[in-house]
Amino acid sequence: MNKKIPVIAKNQKIVYTAFIIVAIILFVLTSLYTKFNIFTLLKNSDEFWSFIVNDFLPPALPKASSIGGVLSSVLVTLALAMASTTVAAILAFFVALFGSEKISPFPKLAKYVRAVATFLRNIPALVWAFILFSSLGIGTGVGFVALCITSFAFMVRAFVETMDDVSNDSVESLLTVGAGFPQRVAQAIVPSCLSGFLSWFLYCIEVNIRASTIVGMVGGGGVGLTLFSYIKGFQYDVALSIILLIALMIIVVDRITAMLRKELQK
């Protein structure tokens, strides 16, 4: 009489319960393995808060003489992201043409092109930066190359998929009129895929603004390096203003690219 009526199927309930149990077990195991204990964090929270309140707050402006330098370092970061994405996009476009079986004049090579791109993409920009700094030294040029490699590889994959989705039919029809490979690219692929390409390009700029800050911190120059030098100099309050500035920069760029991408989809 008082038996409760279940609202979900019994086997679904088992799946959910099993899922929760597995999640808890994994949490315990990984905590043990990494010796991370949430309670030490809570026990030391006083230290943490005093660090935040005393060292970080309130945010302070850098010395008047260095404000110009900070702002120009923001511009360097923006320029680094823009320039590397643009160069990467142009290279990626030409390589992507050979990465799609349907379009490439050498369809058998397409999967190798994609494999190389996947490999390059799965190494984070930060790792590339470290590798390149060790071999080529520190500087914005190296940061540029590191960002270029990852966004190039990402855009090759994204462009290939855009082309596979959009232009198979129209490419086939240009094949039947007797158009050559460059003509098919210019007359069918570019017009049908341009907005898709631009949308991925803008997305890549968003990603690279963040990545260029990080790459900058380890030696690529720009606002990341400025931030890092204040942290190393224990000027945490100035560092906080720069962190807020970075957040503002990223939000503004995100907003602009999101707006443009929406516009492109119309």
Binding site: S170, L175, T176, G178, G180, P182, V185, P191
Partner: protein, 260 residues
């Protein structure tokens, strides 16, 4: 009448083992209007696509306009393809371009690489494209984006692009399968009219038996990759239809069985 296309014992086996064509032989003369009919999977599309080498055949040989199709490569293949217009079920236009640009794509095969890439079409080509659009009743849409057109209008642009190639042969792969009955009739009328005027041979894959009987000068019936009928529409008896589709003519007409 000269033969412009000849299938000699052509077979096609796809890499997954499907035998799409079995020893198909026939020839096509100038100006003929041929319908290829048969159920789905009987090899209609394979026949069409092997003529312009979108599909490579497994054995036998196809001859088009004095050339052996299977040995054509690179430039020669492009020069052969520009003499063969093709019309698709899904129109296959470049939807982000204007109607006029889509029609002008028909002359890409005659242009050198760079001017084709840049879209530098000659004034004569543009005039010809516009007069073709006028003939098809589409001139007022020449600057519309191809994506804004209705299905029947898109197919008319497809026809204009194919005729723009000055083809000797027109291949139509289910040209009316995505259209409503009234647009379908317009398209079939236009196809018949435009190819007849220019003495272009035309091969049409059709699912609509009535259209095949009405428009064709000759019908080829396929079943499981084999030609089981090749003759005039008047020779198409109910027995033939039954052997092509595996069912009686009454069953092919929607609701036909109940009406009788």
């Amino acid at each position: 009448m000269d033969s412009i296309l000849k299938f000699d014992n052509v077979s096609k086996i796809y890499s997954n083992g499907t035998q799409a064509l079995k020893n198909v032989s026939f020839s096509v003369n100038e100006g003929e209007f041929i319908s290829v009919i048969g159920p789905s999977g009987s090899g209609k599309s394979t026949i069409l696509r092997s003529i312009n080498k979108l599909i490579d055949i497994s054995s036998g040989e196809i001859y088009f306009d004095g050339d052996t199709v299977s040995v054509q490569k690179g430039k020669n293949l492009r020069h052969m393809r520009r003499k063969i217009g093709m019309i698709f079920q899904n129109y296959n236009l470049v939807y982000s371009l204007s109607v006029l640009q889509n029609v002008l794509h028909g002359c890409l095969g005659y242009m050198n690489g760079i001017s084709g890439v840049l879209g530098n079409y000659s004034e004569e080509d543009k005039k010809r494209a516009l007069s073709l659009l006028q003939e098809l009743g589409m001139k007022q849409f020449c600057y519309n984006r191809a994506s804004d057109l209705s299905g029947g209008q898109k197919q008319r642009v497809g026809i204009a692009r194919a005729i723009m190639q000055n083809p000797k042969l027109l291949l139509c792969d289910e040209p009316i399968a995505s259209l409503d009955p009234s647009s379908a009739k317009t398209i079939m009328d236009l196809l018949k009219d435009m190819t007849h005027k220019r003495n272009i041979a035309c091969i049409v894959n059709l699912h609509q038996l009535d259209a095949a009987l009405k428009y064709s000068t000759r019908i080829i019936g396929l079943s499981k990759g084999t030609v089981i009928f090749d003759g005039a529409p008047s020779e198409m008896t109910d027995d033939v239809i039954e052997s092509i589709y595996g069912t009686s003519r009454e069953n092919l007409m929607m609701g036909g069985a109940e009406n009788e």
